[in-house]
């Protein structure tokens, strides 16, 4: 079922995930390379804090598919990286993800902000076509994904990154609500 459009002021209040815990999860998995295009969902709570964190090297890219190749190439010597972007960039990068991640079996880990998703709705129920197709598209490509949108969801990040590198396969974290910086 697809939701009708609801004014922002009328949306139910929901809790948001912690950007600090997401960052801690990335670090716990041993990733110190962040490759990113800004995304409004994750900008304040994730990318700005990452940009100020001396533990990370942030490589700013011009287009998302660059990041897929950068992260894939880094993985050859075991360097762990996370690619951050918006779902529009994910859609724009599907062929490179197909080639580098699936055909070549490389561990490209992505964190994707779902811009336009109603915070109180599951992505599949979003009134935004560009949001509700994301999970079915990833399923069709046989790509693993997990949703981070509520407090507590962050706890799975280290194990999912570990699993991606252990299996040498991509994994996509879908960020369904703007992370709080704290």
């Amino acid at each position: 079922m697809v939701a009708g459009a609801v004014a922002a002021a009328d949306m139910p209040k929901v809790a948001h995930p912690s950007g600090a815990k997401i960052i801690a999860g990335i670090k716990a998995a041993g990733a110190r390379e962040i490759v990113a295009l800004p995304d409004i969902v994750t900008s304040d709570g994730l990318l700005w804090p990452v940009s100020r964190d001396p533990d990370f090297r942030l490589t700013r890219i011009c287009k998302e598919d660059e990041g897929v190749s950068i992260c894939g190439a880094m993985s050859y010597n075991g360097t762990r990286a996370v690619l951050m972007m918006q779902q529009t960039g994910l859609m724009d990068s599907l062929n490179v993800i197909r080639a580098i991640g699936v055909d070549y079996e490389l561990p490209v880990v992505m964190m994707v902000g779902l811009q336009g998703k109603e915070p109180h709705l599951h992505p599949d129920q979003s009134s935004a076509y560009g949001v509700r197709i994301i999970r079915p598209v990833l399923d069709a490509m046989e790509l693993t994904h997990s949703l981070i949108e509520a407090p507590g969801d962050e706890v799975h990040i280290p194990q999912m990154i570990e699993a991606a590198y252990a299996a040498s396969r991509p994994h996509i974290f879908l960020i369904g609500r703007s992370p709080e910086a704290a």
């Binding site: 090297r57 490589t59 287009k63 190749s69």
Partner: protein, 189 residues
């Protein structure tokens, strides 16, 4: 005079160190594999336009190695933003050579958009590469190579070339698990 791609690649071979990574794409890749097969040749770029981005990832993750990218002009046009990304990433170990024959050679030799006018070296300059030049003669390339590879990167060299020998296009190999495994083993061995 004209510069044949295989002659340019042959001129490069003596300057490639054992530990250098060479990222090669499309016909430049097929030529290079025939001329200088080695385990640190990185041939699995996956999708057209991505060689420069793979080169950047390798350069960032392997700062003690030089990364030599043998790119194509049609490929680079698909990923022009990578010039800016590379220039701003702070890598000094990336050497970007562009075979500019102004056509989509492996796709029927149709002309590139702007084939008669595009200035690739000027694009690299505008993007912020540390060094950039365009070369159309073998003698000039041979003379310039030691300086290019001794200079801090990122360095960009547009080679205005014509095709040389018709080396076989072994797509099965460049997309093979074997090619990726041999590269990984050589990198980490």
């Amino acid at each position: 005079m004209t510069l044949r791609r295989d002659d340019a690649l042959k001129a490069l071979i003596p300057h490639v160190r054992e530990e250098d990574i060479v990222v090669a794409v499309y016909q430049s890749c097929f030529d290079w594999l025939a001329l200088y097969p080695r385990d640190l040749n990185y041939v699995a770029v996956g999708a057209m336009g991505q060689a420069s981005s793979h080169g950047l990832g390798l350069a960032l993750a392997n700062p003690d190695r030089r990364v030599i990218v043998l790119d194509g002009d049609g490929s680079l046009l698909m990923n022009l933003g990578s010039l800016v990304t590379i220039a701003s990433a702070g890598v000094t170990n990336l050497y970007h050579f562009l075979s500019a024959n102004r056509v989509y050679e492996v796709n029927g030799s149709h002309p590139l958009p702007g084939a008669d006018t595009v200035d690739f070296a000027a694009m690299a300059q505008a993007a912020g590469y540390a060094g950039f030049r365009s070369i159309a003669e073998l003698d000039a390339f041979e003379a310039a190579l030691p300086g290019i590879l001794a200079a801090p990167g990122p360095q960009f060299t547009a080679l205005e070339i014509v095709a040389g020998e018709p080396y076989p296009r072994d797509y099965a190999y460049i997309h093979s698990a074997e090619a990726r495994a041999s590269f990984r083993q050589a990198l980490n061995g």
